[in-house]
Amino acid sequence: MMNRQESEQLLQCRNLVAGYRIKSGFVHAVDDVSFDLERGGFLGIAGESGCGKSTLAFAIMRLLKDNATIENGSLFFKGTDLVGLREEEMKKIRWVDISMAFQSAMNALNPVLSIGEQLTDVIHAHGEVRQSEARDRAIEALKLVDIPRDRFNSYPHQLSGGMKQRVMIAMALILNPDLIIMDEPTTALDVVVQRTIIEKIQELRKSLGFSVIFITHDLSLLVEISDTLAIMYAGKIVEYGNSDELFNMPLHPYTIGLMNSFPSLTGKITRMGGIEGKPPDLLNPPEGCRFHPRCPHAMDICEKSCPALQKVDPRHSVACFLHKGAENL
């Protein structure tokens, strides 16, 4: 039963388990993940390749195909659990209430259709609309992302990388969703273009009021732009909370290591650490805490059991025996 306070949350992910079934077993790309997203909020999910963040994004949109499935858990979106929803019902939500901007717009845009056509296609696919009205709405959406109307008939290859990404965002916005999931939307772009796009997203958020889940490996960027941060490692969230708190007081050794991997523009130049080793194979993750083989502070208990994500402050949770959980075992 949702109580009033909880129903103010736009999206509530509870113990989500999702992954891929392959010949040798099940790859737990998303392993018992929980988080909240309020209306108009900005959740940043930070993690490196292979941590499961893209699978999480697709799981929320219920776009997992073939051998990729959601095994367990719930995704409460405005009170409804998306996990059990039938495909016809999900189709009404997809793109209308929740949309997505993919990694590498270069590949997500159809090279043989003009961008105007691709936008109007989205509109037509989600309802009976007259051609002229669809066209107007498409032009409106392009205007929102600062693409002039004379580019309506341009093809993707005629646009720069930054412009293509903005088209992606226009496509994600066009049906006025409540939530946009962005999977590494600016990774392939130059730093100035990236900043322009981020500024545009923030501006649109203010005016249109949608929430954002922003997935990237660039932690330094994420700290700046998100309200809440979730650090993902090997399919699990290892630290979670308000971004300022996480930045000023990172607790999980992985978070600390990650922050030590980004040189800064200010402050003293000192030799920074980084993290040794490489991310684990999700088919056979390490016993106990998944980070323990690479952790400079690993203890005996870390090899035997996996710490749960627990609150250490009202707006800061961490899954690490250094901070919590060891006393019960």
Partner: protein, 322 residues
């Protein structure tokens, strides 16, 4: 200047455009590139796509010949045609590390075979056994131990970080005087980047190598280098000591780069970018200063002629009329 290992003077590189429609046109990848690299220093070239930074590296490593201008290495000017002996001597002194760790390794050969080549080509070791020992010691130096385990593997069996270590090992194998590193960490996982950067720095110390470090990341440039060159649309916009460039950026483009870079410390205090716009086409670059269409401080003279490099401070120059 003595102590300069490499001097570029007025280097220009134009590529002909291969299409019927635009016949006779050129891609102005590098224009009026002049700088010097001091012995033992790390010089970072910072720029976005289309800035000409990779072309510069390709010209220095002789993948391309410059259209105009001179490249002087260790006091000798590199001429267009070199004999085989001269080429070989040059390649022993100047090496390059590429951005894509996997692309730089031949997928059909083992790491052992790949690592043998530098020693064999330059006759650094004479017989099989000596070569093998050299390979072992080089792999150990970059942290790939035990070497025997890695020598048998193929590139696709290694992780990204490990592959890049092999590339670095290969570049250092010939004991060069100059190494060009073209965005060596941008395709690696974040947690690997720091150790690779640190490794390059310590190898540089132990081998006494000069470095040209190419990157789009200003913070990374600050971490790694002594001096920074900022390039835009094929031209140098600013050059100076790393700390100077960052704390006292002069050129509006440098300021733009700095304000666009992620800086978690600023958080909410961040100001919006001073300008928008896109990188110009290199086939028809803007007249005059190439940044002027986007420059919030542009004057009329900026669209008429290219500003010359002007001295701003100690060892600090910028191409700007301000």
């Amino acid at each position: 200047m003595s102590g300069d290992i490499l001097v570029l003077e007025g280097v220009r590189k134009h590529f002909p455009v291969n299409s019927l429609r635009r016949h006779g046109k050129f891609v102005h990848a590098m224009d009026d590139i002049s700088f010097s690299l001091r012995s033992g220093e790390v010089l970072a070239i910072v720029g976005e796509s289309g800035s000409g930074k990779t072309t510069t590296a390709n010209v220095i490593s002789r993948i391309y010949r410059q259209t105009e201008g001179s490249v002087v290495f260790e006091g000798r000017e590199l001429s267009g045609k070199m004999t085989r002996t001269e080429e070989l001597k040059y390649h022993k002194r100047v090496q390059m590390i590429f951005q894509d760790p996997f692309g730089a390794l031949n997928p059909t050969r083992t790491i052992g075979r790949i690592m043998e080549r530098p020693f064999v080509i330059h006759r650094i070791a004479e017989d099989r056994k000596a070569v093998s020992e050299k390979v072992d010691s080089t792999l150990t130096q970059v942290g790939l131990e035990p070497p025997d385990q890695f020598k048998r593997k193929f590139p696709h069996e290694l992780s990204g970080g490990q592959r890049q270590r092999v590339n670095i090992a290969r570049a250092f194998a010939v004991e060069p005087d100059l190494i060009l590193a073209d965005e060596p960490t941008s395709m690696l996982d974040v947690s690997n980047r720091m150790s690779i950067m640190n490794m390059m720095l310590s190898l540089k110390e132990s081998h006494g190598v000069s470095f040209i470090y190419i990157t789009h990341d200003l913070a990374g440039a600050r971490y790694m280098s002594d001096r920074i060159i900022v390039m835009y649309a094929g031209m140098i916009m600013e050059i100076g000591p790393a700390e100077e460039i960052i704390t006292n950026s002069f050129h509006p483009y440098t300021k733009l780069l700095k304000s666009a870079a992620p800086a978690p410390e600023t958080g909410l205090k961040r100001k919006p970018l001073i300008t928008g716009g896109d990188i110009p086409s290199l086939i028809d670059p803007p007249n005059g200063c190439r940044f002027h269409p986007r420059c919030p401080f542009a004057k009329e003279v900026c669209s008429l002629e290219i500003p010359p490099m002007k001295k701003i401070g100690d060892d600090h120059y910028a191409r700007c009329v301000l």
